[in-house]
């Protein structure tokens, strides 16, 4: 299962990078940091579309959201070309024009409160299911987040699960807490939340932590505090300032996809790729050709 999830994360990374470059705007790096967290949620049996809700409070991770629905087979990959274009349902930040979301997000700090409302509504209806809310670390500076955290603790909404993508970086630099995960933990716990810590890029660990959170019998809201890397998967983006809300140029995209390809194929016998029979110069041109072919088939 893990290798299948791993393939999916790579597919999703490529989609995120391609669609934002195609749109010439968007937030690829903020999407990349939460790829594993959302891939495991969606594809390891934790998110049940029938009973559960998911809210991307960090609405700027829309490219990740749309990619998930491509991999789910709900929307056509070709549609990603319309990202951020006039008339497209794939808007810069999600709105219910995209039929798989119920609420518009993008004004940061509101998603957890909406999720809390849904969680209370589910309890009132005596319905099964959970509300998952993906939060960015920078948005937890919003006072409204702590209004929601406090009230969820008060109402003990055990069906509310926040996933905090702690990628350390905001729009212009480091967040107040950076990777100080234990401070986040203390804050949430002081409001009567159950906390779970995880390496946000380790599929096995994430799988385990979702299991723990979902099996927990504690009557408390839950938060998964995930240490992540902004721009994860592409060396020149990883944990780098100055990349927030920037799409890659065509050249940068080529480089990024090349890297991801290499990660894809690292387990495959080198001879199969014929790498050994190429000079390094040849290899580069081979890879670029290969890439362009893939790009064409994508767009």
């Amino acid at each position: 299962m893990i290798s299948d999830l791993s393939k999916k994360t790579k597919k999703i990374r490529k989609l995120i990078l391609k669609m934002t470059t195609s749109a010439s705007s968007g937030h690829p790096t903020s999407s990349l940091s939460a790829v594993e967290l959302m891939t495991v949620l969606f594809f390891a049996g934790f998110f049940n579309e029938k009973n559960d809700e998911v809210i991307f409070s960090k609405g700027h991770a829309a490219p990740l959201l749309y990619s998930l629905y491509v991999v789910l087979g709900k929307i056509d990959e070709k549609k990603l070309e319309t990202l951020r274009q006039f008339g497209s349902t794939l808007e810069g930040h999600p709105t219910p024009r995209f039929s798989y979301v119920k609420v518009a997000t993008g004004s940061l700090g509101q998603g957890l409160s909406i999720g809390l409302g849904m969680a209370l509504a589910k309890r009132l209806k005596k319905e099964k299911g959970r509300i998952f809310v993906l939060l960015g670390d920078s948005e937890v500076s919003e006072g409204q987040i702590w209004e929601a955290v406090q009230l969820a603790g008060y109402y003990k909404t055990e069906n509310l699960i926040a996933i905090l993508d702690i990628n350390r970086l905001g729009q212009r630099g480091e967040t107040m807490l950076g990777w100080d995960i234990s401070s986040y933990q203390k804050r949430f716990e002081s409001f009567s939340w159950q906390t779970f810590l995880v390496d946000g890029h380790n599929l096995e660990e994430i799988n385990k932590v979702y299991q723990e959170a979902l099996l927990s019998v504690e009557k408390k809201p839950k938060v998964i505090l995930a240490k992540t890397i902004k721009g994860k998967g592409v060396s020149f983006l990883e944990d780098k300032e100055g990349w927030h809300g920037k799409a890659l140029t065509q050249d940068e995209l080529k480089k990024a996809l090349e890297e991801l390809e290499k990660q894809d194929e690292k387990n495959i016998d080198q001879n199969e790729l014929g790498v050994n029979s190429f000079s390094s110069q040849d290899q580069k041109s081979y890879e670029i050709k290969n890439l362009l072919g893939r790009l064409k088939s994508y767009f």
Binding site: T95, P96, K102, V103, A104, T105, G106, S107, G109, Q110, S113, I114, G115, L116, G117, M118, A119, L120, A121, K122, L124, K125, G143, Q144, E147, A148, Q150, L151, Y154
Partner: protein, 318 residues
């Protein structure tokens, strides 16, 4: 005309009673309040339907977004607090419109007429804020029965609705069978004045309606037909009635317990300009000074939105 024996009751109290009534008819109605339920009277609902009442404590932004969550799970949420404090949740209301929200918002203690509590507690920008939401409906009832009817309309219609409520008790002037509607208004006109040559139209709503009605009686002796229109539907306005009365009277005074910007006065001005209505006189009486504590009636006088201010403005027209 206000009957001196009119029974007094605050519109906020009518709100609480109406919630119970609509709550009985529709079990999807839930009520959220930001720790002011004994002031907004949302507590009346809580007493009857404790499971469907949610105390949000003093956290207005969270309250509005939580309400959106209830909406998206099939409930009809009513949220309430002081109108002044709703302004801090404007972003949440603004965002709710992009989620096609079905959201009912009640803001009590609107205007300087709250009196003693002072400026920090007075909602004087709320009409502007709520009118600015593209597809919102904004109500500002003056009495008990109109409030109850408008709450029912809010419960039965989809969309973002705002109900502006008054702290003070006001006379009950409408019959309980009187009909109110989105985009409606009520004309108050004295029969005996209909043949007077001098005519002035007063457009108002809420607490200042009663100031206008008192002025109406004062002016009978001056041969002035003062037509008072209760514009309880601030948005949409009853355009047809307003335009027709404007053409007939040619003299208009808008009176409101709100700042000059974005309230009833600007809504009316915009309507008149769009329809190229030429007038002899137009005046906007509103809160145009920084307020302070005092008795409600003192503040209405200080702001020039009371009976005497209306009478004196009318006299200046002729």
């Amino acid at each position: 005309m206000i009957d001196s024996n009119s029974f007094l009751k605050a519109t906020r109290e009518a709100y609480g009673e109406a919630l119970v009534e609509v709550g009985k008819e529709n079990e999807k109605i839930v009520v959220l309040d930001a720790e002011t339920s004994n002031s907004t009277y949302a507590e009346k609902f809580k007493k009857v339907f404790p499971d469907r009442f949610f105390e949000m404590f003093i956290a207005e932004q969270n309250m509005v977004s939580v309400a959106l969550g209830f909406d998206k799970m099939g409930f009809i949420p009513f949220v309430s607090t002081f109108s002044a404090f709703l302004t801090r949740a404007f972003d949440q209301i603004r965002m709710a419109q992009y989620s096609n929200a079905n959201l009912k918002i009640a803001g009590s203690h609107a205007g300087v007429s709250i009196g003693a509590d002072g400026s920090s507690q007075m909602g004087l920008e709320d009409l502007a804020m709520m009118r600015s939401i593209l597809e919102s409906v904004v109500f500002y009832p003056s009495d008990y029965f109109s409030t109850k009817k408008l709450v029912k309309i809010m419960a039965e219609n989809q969309g973002i609705f705002y109900l502006r409520l008054t702290r003070e008790k006001t006379p009950i002037i409408y019959d309980q069978n009187f009909s109110f509607e989105i985009g409606g208004s009520v004309i108050h006109r004295l029969d005996l004045a209909k043949n007077f040559r001098k005519k002035v139209l007063i457009l108002t709503a809420g607490i200042t309606l009663f100031e206008a009605l008192k002025a109406q009686e004062d002016l009978v002796d001056y041969d002035i037909d003062l037509v008072v229109l209760d514009c309880y539907s601030i948005k949409p306005l009853d355009e047809k009635t307003i335009l027709s009365l404007a053409k007939e009277t040619k003299n208009i005074i808008v009176v409101e317990d709100h700042y000059p910007y974005g309230g009833l006065g600007e809504a009316v001005s915009s309507l008149l300009v769009k329809n190229k209505i030429s007038l002899e006189n137009f005046s906007h009486l509103c809160v145009s000074k920084i307020p302070m504590s005092g008795k409600p009636e003192e503040l209405l006088v200080y702001m020039g939105i009371d009976e005497k201010a209306i009478v004196s403005k009318v006299k200046k027209f002729f």
